[in-house]
């Protein structure tokens, strides 16, 4: 861009402003890696739990503890992304607080379940209800429809799970992982790769 001092018309100025704001918005692309990892883990744990109920053969350890392991790759990917990023968006702080809140709530709910031995049937509905919250908000803030739909699917399945048995609930949980995180994550990853090659 050459410095054509004060030679722009008003229309050219407005066009330039729109063009630059558009360029900045199109730069808000994440790798989607954290979303993919989280999605795979939820699907894996849900299907494994479903298998235990289906075969009536229960493992000696709680497979859902693996979810807490997801924190490690999440931190790794966010540090990696931060190092690569050349700008900080206005919404980043909000998103950090939102997903941290989600993580804390999931932890507290899990702790509550383990301490008071709540009815697992109702807690799966609560987990799916919570999965929908950050997913729907993130989708809405970034105008990313796959996550908006993912959040809505979590809520629909949360309601549906109130009428099904625990084994079916686990299949619903796997569907939440698929629609709320894995599919949107893969879409983000493909967009990111496409942008890298451009």
């Amino acid at each position: 861009m050459n410095e054509a001092e004060n030679k722009m018309t008003e229309a050219e100025s407005l066009k330039l402003i729109n063009e630059m704001i558009g360029k900045a918005k199109r730069s808000y692309i994440t790798t989607g890696a954290a979303s993919i990892v989280w999605g795979i883990l939820i699907i894996f744990c849900s299907l494994l739990t479903w298998y235990q109920f289906y075969t009536n053969h229960f493992f000696d350890f709680d497979v859902w503890l693996l979810v807490f392991l997801a924190v490690i790759p999440q931190i790794y990917f966010s540090i990696k992304e931060k190092q690569k990023k050349k700008f900080v968006s206005h919404d980043e702080r909000t998103m950090t607080y939102l997903w941290t809140t989600f993580g804390i709530c999931i932890f507290v709910l899990s702790f509550y379940n383990s301490k008071f031995g709540s009815n697992e049937h109702s807690s799966t509905s609560l987990f799916m209800l919570m999965y929908g919250i950050p997913t729907f908000i993130t989708g809405g803030v970034f105008k990313f429809k796959p996550m908006i739909f993912g959040g809505l699917i979590c809520w629909v399945l949360s309601i549906a799970s109130m009428y099904t048995d625990i084994a079916v609930d686990m299949l619903f949980m796997a569907a939440c992982g698929l629609f709320a995180w894995l599919i949107p994550g893969i879409i983000l990853w493909r967009r990111y790769k496409k942008q890298q090659t451009c």
């Binding site: 861009m1 001092e5 722009m8 100025s13 630059m20 700008f87």
Partner: protein, 97 residues
């Protein structure tokens, strides 16, 4: 009567920089260079003009042993940008319709 266009902003590269910075919280020099397709030297000069006008803050730091220049729009810069856009709109639509 038409509002006078801010001469600091009514320049292609400076306007491009401010438009990018209004869209993000802060950005590296390399991001601005990449998006505006400007040369490093020219961009540096224009960034300094914006900084001198108090429209942006420039912070120089080191990241992984590499120098890094971070630019951020100031409150004064946001006000100036909004005034500039209003002035442009008054030129484009003089009857205010």
């Amino acid at each position: 009567m038409f509002k006078e266009l801010d001469p600091i902003l009514h320049s292609q590269l400076r306007l491009a920089v401010i438009s990018l910075l209004i869209s993000v919280k802060e950005a590296e020099f390399t991001f601005l260079k990449e998006k505006t397709n400007a040369t490093a030297g020219n961009l540096s000069v224009q960034i300094n003009k914006l900084k001198d006008a108090g429209y942006i803050d420039v912070t120089k730091q080191f990241s992984n042993n590499y120098p890094q220049t971070i630019c951020k729009i100031t409150g004064r810069g946001v006000d100036a940008f909004e005034e500039y856009v209003k002035a442009l709109q008054s030129y484009m639509n003089p009857n205010g319709k």
